[in-house]
């Protein structure tokens, strides 16, 4: 049996209340989601994020939102991203040809170099930073660095916080103070609703006005809206899962380190590792363990592995041990 640990999903199913709500949403699925249903969804997100509804925009998945935002701001000027970053951010930005600057995380520390970032951000239309970062797992921004970038750029700072629940840290409340800050998030990670694809963002009204023409086109489906509202009523369930993932992440990290693998500290539900083997991801695949292959961002000795259930993690660890023992 194949063990898939390549997409940073949650390995636990949602609680029955969430499944029931999605089913309820299915009953009216001959209709588009109504403005009232979207308003209820926004209201639930508002409560969860501690941000007024007026600041919130919901979409069918965070990837499409990131893509739309990058395309929208590319019309106004240059884009700055970090390297490496979530590959959809990189691929959309690379496809535009309107001016792209990447600021590479320093090696081997993987720190974000603030000075060149600020220099590049100054005249950019959009700066995109995923924090925690994918594929490194590292939390790149604190409140101070977020403030500094917002104050020094003429454009917009977009912070993708898809993994913030695992990090236990967010700058989303800062959208109240900075009219040029956008924070994007997802229900696909800690809430475990990847298959429903719900993403959302928080930003000041001016930014949201730019997106208003897309509001209807990007709306989530009715079952997704109902399920999300239900999931947001059960924050404890999400928190327990995030804690479980955190505990397993530290166990996997310790076990892999004990095998001589270099494991990077992570604030997410995945770990970046450097092994002694080339083509490490392919060798794990031969043993029916699928991990993400970041070999075009680092070398082929690197793997990014999602944290699964304790059983899945054990399967990964024993496959890793076998791969490391190869000549």
């Amino acid at each position: 049996m194949v063990t898939e640990l390549n997409r940073n999903e949650l390995s636990y199913p949602p609680p029955s209340g969430v499944i029931g709500a999605a089913r309820k949403g299915l009953q009216g699925v001959n209709r588009y989601a109504t403005a009232r249903e979207i308003a209820e969804l926004k209201s639930a997100l508002s409560g969860y994020c501690g941000i007024a509804e007026e600041f919130i925009f919901v979409t069918s998945g965070v990837e499409i939102l990131l893509g739309q935002l990058i395309q929208l701001f590319a019309r106004k000027g240059g884009i700055v991203i970090i390297d490496p970053t979530f590959f959809i951010i990189a691929r959309v930005a690379e496809s535009l040809k309107t001016g792209l600057r990447k600021v590479r995380l320093m090696r081997p520390s993987l720190d974000l170099p603030m000075e060149p970032l600020i220099a590049e951000a100054r005249d950019a239309a959009l700066v995109v930073i995923d924090s925690p970062n994918n594929p490194t797992g590292r939390l790149l921004l604190d409140r101070e660095s977020t403030r500094k970038i917002c104050e020094s750029t003429k454009g917009i700072l977009l912070v993708d916080e898809s993994y913030c629940e695992f990090a236990g840290f967010s700058v989303i409340d800062m959208v109240k103070n900075y009219s040029n800050l956008i924070v994007t998030r997802t229900m696909s990670k800690a809430f475990g609703l990847a298959g429903l694809k719900v993403g959302y963002m928080a930003a000041a009204e001016d930014v949201l006005r730019d997106l208003s023409s897309l509001e209807v086109a990007l709306r989530p489906t009715t079952p997704s809206a109902y399920a999300t509202v239900a999931a947001l009523k059960d924050i404890e369930y999400m928190k327990n899962n995030a804690a479980l993932v955190g505990k397993e992440r530290e166990r996997v990290s310790r076990a892999a380190s004990a095998m001589g693998v270099e494991v990077y500290p992570s604030s997410t539900n995945f770990l970046l590792m450097r092994t002694s083997q080339t083509n490490a991801a392919r060798k794990l695949k031969d043993l029916e363990v699928i991990v993400f292959d970041p070999s075009n961002q680092f070398s082929s000795q690197f793997i990014r592995v999602s944290i699964g259930t304790p059983d899945e993690n054990n399967i990964f660890l024993s496959a890793l041990e076998k791969v490391l023992a190869m000549e």
Binding site: D83, R91, P108
Partner: protein, 368 residues
């Protein structure tokens, strides 16, 4: 159809290492033997063959005697022998002659040896067929080698399956005399086409590899650089295939392995050495250098590009150095590196630099 794989083993490569000679080029081989050096390539070649999984899906052509035939027979693979040996001892001439013959008969040439062997193979096959090196020499600074024999077997398996990406990699010429004295002097010798295992293509969402070829990437870089070129400015184009793409875009000739000077879209000097560059700098006050990292490890100055000596770099502002590299190449180098033998110049260049990686696309990378 079965893939045709060629194998050439340099039986004396690597013998200098254990006896501290740092190489067996030229006259050093008898000395290595005298010092009791043991052949090492046969073991590496055997390890390579034994780890190859898809032996049955390929047809082997091997060099005669100790240059491949003997090892292939021990390994129990089916093969045909290409050419014959000129004498009892093998030489660089044998490698070149057999390499040339194989270039018409095989889809991929595997050689076992070091940097010297890589240069002989380059002389023989150039860019005609893909080549991969199994490292067995003392010095392997070029990027044409797999990290070890097992990795080489993995790459050849991927090639046989059609899962390898092929890109041009540098063959380096290391000055062995200097290296024995503890100095690393290297220059670019040429390019070989080298296969490597392509990134795993996973489910749709996770497919992260570029669809564009490295040549298309180089053309996009060239378009961007040419659009930004200023009048009455002297551009010194360093070695490499990306800088050559810039010259092609300007419709001028470029020495692949040397430094050429361009002024108002015309070549004003070719294949410059340090002295030639210094002479040109006397007559131009607006000067920019366009270079690409050389040698696989992100080196921009010091290992390769040695025409840009400390004396030259002293006269050039850091902002007037334009670094170009394809996305793949820069993704593989953790940082840019300098090692010019002049601490003050190194210090001036360290910090951060932009690298042009595509049309209007640059990466800010740390220089260490």
């Amino acid at each position: 159809m079965a893939k045709r794989i060629g194998l050439i083993v340099n039986p004396i490569a690597g013998m200098g290492g254990s006896v501290g000679l740092k190489g067996t080029d030229g006259k050093m081989y008898p000395k290595a033997v005298e010092l009791g050096a043991e052949p090492v390539t046969a073991a590496r070649a055997k390890a390579f063959l034994s780890h190859l999984k898809l032996k049955d899906k390929s047809a082997f052509s091997v060099a005669p005697g100790g240059m491949g035939e003997d090892i292939a027979r021990d390994a129990g693979i089916k093969f045909t022998v290409v050419s014959s040996l000129s004498g009892r001892k093998t030489s660089a001439d044998d490698t070149r002659r057999i390499g040339r013959e194989m270039s018409n008969k095989v889809d991929l040439l595997v050689f076992v040896g070091g940097d010297g062997t890589a240069r002989d193979v380059y002389d023989a096959v150039g860019l005609k067929i893909p080549v991969i090196g199994v490292p067995s020499g003392v010095k392997m600074f070029g990027a044409v080698f797999a990290v070890n024999a097992i990795a080489a077997a993995e790459i050849v398996d991927a090639f046989i399956e059609g899962n390898a990406a092929i890109s041009e990699k540098e063959v380096m010429d290391i000055n062995e005399e200097a290296y024995r004295e503890g100095r690393l002097e290297s220059k670019l010798y040429g390019y070989l086409m080298v296969p490597e295992v392509a990134g795993l293509v996973q489910s749709g969402k996770e497919a992260t590899t570029y669809s564009e070829s490295s040549h298309e990437n180089q053309e996009a870089i060239a378009r961007y650089i040419i659009e930004g070129m200023l009048a009455d400015t002297l551009y010194l184009l360093g070695a490499g295939s990306t800088t050559t793409a810039i010259a092609e875009g300007l419709k001028v000739r470029k020495t692949l392995l040397g430094v050429d000077a361009i002024h108002n879209n015309r070549v004003v000097a070719e294949n410059l050495n340090e002295k030639g560059i210094l002479e040109l700098l006397k007559h131009h006050n607006k000067v920019k250098i366009i270079i690409s990292p050389i040698g696989g490890n992100g080196f921009i100055f010091g290992r390769g590009n040695q025409e840009f000596s400390p004396a030259v770099l002293k006269l050039i502002e850091k902002d007037d150095i334009i670094v170009v590299a394809t996305r793949d190449k820069i993704n593989r180098a953790a940082s840019l590196r300098v090692d010019t033998n002049d601490a003050r110049i190194d210090k001036k260049l360290k910090g951060f630099m932009r690298v042009v990686t595509h049309y209007n696309e640059e990466v800010v990378v740390e220089v260490v």
